[in-house]
Assembly symmetry: D2
Homo-oligomer: 289 residues x 4
């Protein structure tokens, strides 16, 4: 957790593993008089791939914001064949929430937002139903009703995309949104749509996972937050959680217990995304400290 | 936990749900001067099925052991259409362990046996390899080597069945035994073969689940103990456990972390079975308190 | 879980352990044509004490509501020296929430209330601050500001008691309320005030438990919900939870991670209380299924 | 997990926080042609203290083993005011186990040792009782019986210290050893004696924690592994774990459930110590990845 008062720059990197990367990156920052406030790196030996997140204070840094990217690209990223991005802590991401009828994840996200736990802006909530309109509006957030049917799906998704673009939304959270997004929609927000699925994937992908869990007689139920890809319930997993159940738990009870896991798991994923601590490679995630 | 010094009788029941079953069963024991030391019941409202386990002290009970079953059958089980069985706490079950090359579950079971945690006899361990022979023998337990190939499987399974019968084995624990048992073998020990599978089933059934878990990028790994049926990795689940992992965990590390869950989950399942606390219905288990 | 459409009666009992109690109680209900929908019992062998919760449908029951208590008292409770109480599922309990400045537990409770997860009425929230006034009012719930100082504490508590009585409040939930209630106040609501303490009690009782946890260098933080007694943080524990932490977690981070455990643990305790599944004996709780 | 075939050097550091430490350390290794296989660092902002563990391959490194320490001391450690140490992966630590009468932790450690999970030597086990002599000897490990009374404690501890010195023991694991070690003994092995205490410290320090947990009515029991200091049960915590319990669990049952947590928690602590992943500062531990 960055407790410094200065704003920070955050670079996330992955590249082929090779000697001396940490030395090169930290030296770059050090020579420019940067104070590193967080550093986490990981080497995947099977994939021979290097991953890193580094965050440093902008106060006193020798380069302006505009100079950092080209300098880093030239000195380090290009020679090391890096895929990378830079963000700044005062660029607050803008998040849209998609919901249907269930309110538990929505309230959990909005109450965290309201209490200041999330450094994020939430300009709007989109829903294919109107059930949660009042719940959203009382937080002072716009509620946009875009009903979707098999017939009008393409057209309605276009409306959604238009709204998201107009309102400058950076990423989307599906808080138990009960519509499958088309490949076209997903492609507009690669690694920027977070879903919560109510099972410990890959078990019980698809519809009605609590019913399937009950039928199989499992002793644990779970939830999975993941980035949405065009492959249903198969995107890179950000976080998972489980809860112990027993033969006493009816399907209704599973649904109810499951909600608590869904809330926790989704909230942690959203937090990691907001804090720029996620990185996707090869359909898996690295979640930095 | 029964701390009485008297031996006890244990009845496990399931039957169609109907009014007054608990009253009838407890009245039967009460009228015969029995002291109930444990009672657990469950009603599955979806299946309209009633489940019960009741344990009472034999000291001072008005019926002899031989009289209990026919009396209970006549007075209660038949009219209530019960499927049921009776056991006595001083009938120590006899357990065989099947292993291959990995020792962690084996040692965990044998050390619990040695410390008196399990009220069980272990006359023998069977293995398709000789790697663990010394490990077994030092506990004073017979080790029987029965190698299995695709060609000799039926014949070798017959040897195993012969040994189990000769040694009076009641149930079998597959402690990471890396052979699939034939339907014929399984049918000799219905609901009496306990396996440990190294994933949270139904995710990653079949071979190499840790490799599959790593490839999918899950954030939890798990283990599942279940009764073996002829349907591979699909039998009724007795217990499950999980452990949190991260991108730092290589496959080797998953294997290592997984071992600790496998040990715990298998040991709990074996304990529940020994204490006659399991009941299978409809490919699911009820695990009594 | 009771899924029947009929309303139910719920009896909770504790008494000296003795033979045949379950038989007597279930027979009482069975003879009066009651259909048991839940039964859970427990015998504490050290204390030689018997505990039971039984719930049955009122539809078709041979006794009227008014007749049940005297009949049960005469036939069973008196001879068995029982401490007991009866409740009816359609008597919806009325709950007040006390808060200070932190909103996380408040929102969690109110969103569960709003979604219908809790079968409860919440007529009002009381706070010693005004920070959360808007948050409460937007749920359509009265917010009453009763500031408390060392000087006016007795008088202000009297105001609180007056309001609770006027509004027919059955039990009180302290959702991170940062005032210690006097013995006088507590005595008005014995076993009917639920607190959430932000540590795994008995570790870190008293003020600033996250600071204390950080200083001690623990690897788990926790939360404890308990009934409030006049002995600070020493009342009977209803539920507890923990979360794994590491050296990376600053005190701020502990506070944040802790909130999620506080929410879950408090919500489970409140649910158990609402569903009449708690029973206190000897400063410990029995939590029925 | 180091999967390289080359042996490695491991440096653990703590020092006042300051700019550029990671750059200096990684540059030192990079310039000498070292290949970093693991790096983990942590900054405690409250204490303004920096912590780091770095591991690199010795194959091809420009300095000999003997040259590394003075070079590092001169170039980096002295100017940065570091407290630090270096270890080499092929220096296998030698571990002694102290036990009394309970075997569960002992078996867990020895079976991990036997299966090769621990890269450690275990030349001997010391006990104040003879109960576990056979259990130890069957693993081919020396068992030394050193009974301790209040009268002969100083003298017997001297015997223990003599044996440990003669046998070249690096660190000691107290696997439910039921004797308090004197300050004199502890001072011979600072941060090199690992104990398992059967509660989630600081709750229930001292004797009979399961009895105390039962009396308090907690809903979780735990275990804590820590380095032993002269302050009983107050040393730096390495790891902790908990298990959910209920009112059904008698003290005997708590003891039994507790054993499983003790085993896991102690085994993780021992593993972290063997792999040189622990660092103590200010009575707290940093546990590196």
């Amino acid at each position: 957790m960055n407790q410094s008062h200065s704003e920070t720059a955050i670079i996330r990197i992955h590249c082929p593993d090779q000697r001396g990367i940490v030395a090169r990156v930290t030296d770059f920052i050090h020579r420019n008089n940067g104070n590193v406030v967080a550093l986490d790196q990981h080497t995947d030996r099977d994939d021979k791939r290097f991953f890193m997140r580094i965050e440093w204070e902008l106060d006193g840094f020798a380069l302006t914001r505009e100079q950092i990217a080209p300098a880093f690209e030239f000195a380090i990223a290009t020679p090391c064949k890096m895929t990378w991005r830079i963000d700044f802590s005062d660029e607050i991401p803008r998040m849209a929430i998609f919901v249907s009828k269930m309110s538990h994840c929505l309230y959990d996200l909005l109450s965290r937002y309201r209490s200041g736990e999330y450094k994020v802006e939430i300009p709007l909530v989109i829903s294919n139903h109107t059930d949660l309109e009042e719940d959203v509006r009382k937080f002072g957030i716009d509620f946009i009703h875009i009903p979707v049917t098999a017939a009008n799906k393409a057209e309605q998704e276009q409306k959604e995309l238009d709204v998201l673009r107009e309102r400058g939304v950076d990423f989307v959270v599906l808080a138990r949104y009960m519509q499958v997004l088309s490949e076209n929609f997903v492609n507009h927000y690669p690694e920027r749509i977070i879903n919560i699925h109510h099972s410990f994937l890959p078990a019980f992908a698809g519809a009605k996972p609590y019913h399937a869990a009950h039928a199989r007689g499992v002793k644990l139920i779970g939830a999975t937050s993941h980035y949405v890809t065009s492959d249903l319930d198969a995107g890179p997993i950000i976080d998972q959680g489980v809860s112990r159940i027993s033969h006493h738990d009816s399907i209704d009870r599973l649904v109810q217990k499951g909600r608590d896991i869904e809330k926790i798991v989704l909230s942690r994923a959203v937090k990691a995304h907001i804090e720029r601590k996620t990185l996707v490679y090869n359909n898996r995630t690295v979640i930095f400290n």
